[in-house]
């Protein structure tokens, strides 16, 4: 494993340095039919789950096959995607915002071979490599964060909760039976690197214990002022601590009841870890949307205050999600998003229909906006 240099010389970092060149020009990457008809598309149709056709004013058509997959992706897997794109799509493909892969062909006769090829590929473990779906009034891929794969503050895993959820929701990935599309999102702690606060269903990792304090090391590895200022609720103060051996050290103290377990302090100071087997788990939110269609965009609401981490498949979580999806499928009107449905029937009926327990944790007590969520009306259902 000898180090092989590109030519970069750490002693002369500016020599031949190229910077600020930005991304590659998208024009280099468009498939020809896209480049030709850009800005001149007439309409589209979802032919079947995962398969779309877009028709241009020119009469040109582009057929798209959308496949799901893990956003965590090996080069081996990417190379396989390239192999398929070379074989069927003249070496072009694209990714969607929700981590699907789209293979495009410019005539209908190329569609079946492509679909068959994609559907036939499976991992050794048995799962599909390229399941076709994720369109229309169904459930598409879950956007998510890193979790235990690569993050220092997660309260749960991301890839695992997503895999467990998508297995449970797989039929709806490949179908379009729902009243409207349903977006599931996942963030592994409340910093929400992937903002999930406007999703039909959001899975959120959540700590419930304030940080431990590694007093012996804290002042050695942390800048105490940075740790103090990292706290959004001003719960951290500098303090002197006496260790077991009697030595006095500079450290911090935490006002536990003010802590909202965000882990910002741990980011600044490794001597303040907060992960905990029993403390950590899942919050479920529901009813958000980003589209302006029919109703305004809206925030998701907390509908399950806490579920424990149940590795490896989080059955309580997937059961709650499935109950929400089924109640929605049964109760909502055509075109009605999950949150619009909940508002129409009233959240009290939502909890009933989804068999979810309402607890005091779900009543807002954050800032004065909380007031807006309480009920200033005699209009409610018993």
């Amino acid at each position: 494993m000898a180090f092989i240099s590109t030519g970069y010389d750490p002693k002369k970092p500016m020599e031949n340095r190229i910077t600020d060149i930005g991304p590659r020009d998208y024009n280099e990457f468009y498939p020809p039919v896209i480049a030709k008809n850009k800005g001149k598309w007439s309409h589209h149709e979802i032919l079947e789950p995962g398969v779309l056709v877009h028709v241009a004013d020119s009469g040109d058509e582009v057929y798209t096959v959308r496949v799901g997959g893990a956003r965590l992706m090996s080069t081996t897997h990417i190379n396989e995607i390239c192999e398929i794109a070379d074989k069927h799509c003249d070496g072009h493909l694209r990714f969607t915002t929700r981590n699907n892969v789209e293979f495009m062909v410019d005539s209908k006769d190329k569609l079946e071979p492509l679909k068959n090829d994609l559907a036939s590929r499976k991992f050794d473990g048995g799962s599909f490599k390229f399941p076709i779906g994720g369109t229309g009034a169904g459930i598409t891929n879950i956007v998510h964060t890193q979790g235990w794969i690569h993050c220092h503050t997660p309260a749960t895993d991301a890839s695992g909760t997503v895999k467990a959820s998508m297995d449970a929701l797989f039929a709806d990935f490949q179908d379009m039976r729902l009243p409207a599309h349903l977006r599931v999102s996942m963030a592994c702690c409340l910093n929400m690197c992937g903002a999930v606060h406007c999703s039909d269903i959001a899975i959120l990792g959540y700590h419930r214990k304030p940080p431990m304090l590694d007093h012996e090391y804290l002042d050695k590895v942390c800048e105490i002022p940075l740790a103090v200022s990292a706290c959004p609720t001003a719960a951290i103060k500098p303090s002197k601590q006496t260790l077991a051996d009697g030595t006095e050290v500079k450290s911090v103290s935490v006002k536990n009841e003010r802590c909202m377990y965000c882990g910002n302090c741990y980011t600044m100071c490794p001597s303040m870890p907060l992960a905990d087997t029993e403390g950590d788990g899942i919050v479920l939110m529901a009813g958000g949307k980003v589209s302006n269609r029919i109703s305004d965009p809206k925030f998701s609401k907390v509908v399950v205050g806490f579920l424990p981490n149940e590795m490896p498949r989080w059955p309580s979580m997937t059961a709650a999600i499935t109950r929400m999806v089924e109640a929605y499928a049964k109760g909502a009107n055509k075109y009605e998003r999950l949150g619009d449905w909940a508002e129409r029937i009233g959240w009290e009926k939502f909890f009933e229909a989804c068999e979810l327990e309402f607890t005091h944790h779900l009543i807002d007590d954050f800032r004065q906006q909380a007031y807006m969520s309480w009920r200033q009306s005699t209009q409610f259902k018993f």
Binding site: T6, P13, R17, I18, D20, I21, G22, P23, R24, Y26, W41, H44, E45, I46, L47, P49, H54, G68, G69, A70, R71, S74, T75, T76, H77, I78, C82, R94, T97, G126, S127, F128, G136, W148, I149, H150, D157, S159, G160, K163, M176, R177, N191, A195, P232, N264, D276, D280, V290, S291, N292, R293, S295, P297, F299, M311, P312, R313, K334, Y335
Partner: protein
């Protein structure tokens, strides 16, 4: 033969959805075999160790990663995220396991040629594990060591004509929907604008000069497929000012349930919803009630249309967006932390999107906002929080935009108007002795 036992993760190989565990295992095996004879610059068994350490997290219910110190490439304040594991003896392959963010192309179109170059590089100098893509939009190269960072950057810039993305208190990598490249709803060329803005603001993207992170996201229409209204400090959402274009013949095809005219472009094909009913599915669901279908003719009172896209989405062959297109700009969206979530608030109802003058109308708004935020924003204060702290009126002031009722969902419900002294006749300085002539103590 796997390096570590992974009984928990193994259970995530079953089920239909693509298993990230299966993929990591295949990757570990490919690296172990190394049929291509790659001269791996980081440990060959790093993916085995990645599986091992994630398995340990599944056992403990806790992560085993520590935050990295400051690592990066020379002169850039972002684009690299340091990462170390807390069990280096057991999993030496992932002791150092940094992330690099690579700026994705507009619309996320790729050629296989480009992707293969990237995988070659990442097999050679990294773990071969990626995210396609990260939450902000970048290509994420997941797992390499500190000495490789400059090497990867060198190859990207010299050989691939490719730069890193943003992280830290920078402009984050702007992201867009595919826009006019393949969507008939797009009101402007999102790919062109996102590419322009990314290049125009390379300095802001790479060198931290902001109070905190700043995101641009570009949606071609109010359907907001890229969620700009929820996820970006400045959100550019396509819209139009004139009338929805109607093809009455096509409307009637929908009404007649012609098979070539499936409602909602076929999105409901899996449900048993009965025949399409224009009254129930379009007219009655229009949020403003501005539509009528009488005598086989659809009429839209465009002055009362709020361009919600529903009717167009339902009958894409019959209804088209207007021709006088541009975008709305909304400001301040962010996730809940620290001070509560915000969605973008409408600042500019309509602005032209004009490549011919380098989008000058748009860059003026951006730069006015940045000037204010850099001057007034506190450390780690997002734009939305600054707007909340200093008020929406202040945002109008710094951008030189007239207040109009479009800016609000409803006018203020409280009468606590803070007048400025120069707005009040006679000013605030008064002579109490003069007053006392008429009002005894």
């Amino acid at each position: 033969m796997a390096k570590h036992e992974t009984p928990f993760l193994d259970q995530l190989e079953s089920g239909p959805w693509p298993s990230f565990v299966s993929d990591l295992k295949q990757q570990a095996e490919v690296r172990a075999k190394n049929e291509k004879g790659v001269e791996f610059q980081i440990p060959q068994d790093c993916v085995d160790d990645l599986l091992g350490i994630v398995e340990l997290s599944y056992k403990h219910g806790r992560t085993h990663w520590k935050h990295g110190g400051i690592v990066g490439v020379f002169g850039y304040g972002g684009g690299v995220i340091g990462r170390y594991c807390d069990q280096p003896q057991a999993f030496p392959g992932v002791e150092h396991f940094h992330t690099m963010r690579v700026n994705q192309p507009a619309g996320k179109y790729y050629t296989t040629d480009y992707l293969r170059k990237l995988t070659d590089l990442w097999d050679f100098r990294g773990s071969g594990v990626t995210n396609m893509h990260g939450a902000t939009g970048d290509i994420i190269l997941l797992g390499t060591t500190t000495p490789q960072l400059e090497e990867v950057f060198w190859t990207l810039t010299h050989d691939y004509n490719q730069d890193l993305g943003g992280s830290g208190s920078n402009l984050r990598t702007p992201a867009d929907c595919l826009g006019q490249s393949r969507c008939e709803y797009a009101c402007y060329d999102t790919n062109a604008l996102v590419h322009f803005l990314t290049n125009e603001y390379q300095d802001e993207l790479h060198r931290p000069a902001f109070p905190y992170k700043f995101k641009f996201k570009l949606d071609g229409c109010p359907n907001c497929c890229v969620a700009s209204i929820a996820r970006s400090d400045m959100s550019f959402i396509g819209t139009w000012k004139d009338d929805i274009r109607i093809d009455q013949d096509a409307v009637n095809k929908y009404v007649e349930n012609d098979a070539a005219y499936p409602a909602n472009a076929g999105a409901h094909k899996g449900g048993d919803w009965g025949p399409f009913d224009i009254e129930k599915e379009v007219i009655a669901l229009c949020p403003t009630g501005c539509m009528k279908f009488e005598n086989k003719k659809l009429a839209i009172d465009n002055a009362n249309c709020t361009r919600c896209m529903h009717c167009i989405n339902v009958m894409p062959k019959a209804l088209k967006i207007g021709k006088e297109t541009g975008c709305s700009i909304l400001c301040g969206a962010k996730a809940p932390i620290l001070d509560g979530a915000q969605m973008g608030s409408l600042l500019v109802p309509f602005i032209e999107v004009n490549p011919d003058n380098d989008y000058e109308a748009i860059t003026e708004v951006i730069e006015n906002i940045w000037d204010w935020w850099m001057e007034e924003g506190k450390n780690r204060e997002r734009l939305g929080e600054l707007i909340m702290r200093q008020g929406f009126q202040k945002l109008l002031e710094v951008t030189g935009i007239e207040a109009m009722p479009q800016h609000v969902q409803y006018p203020r419900t409280n009468p606590y108007i803070f007048w400025k002294e120069d707005e009040v006749t006679g000013g605030w300085e008064r002579d109490v002795e003069e007053y006392r002539k008429h009002h005894q103590r």
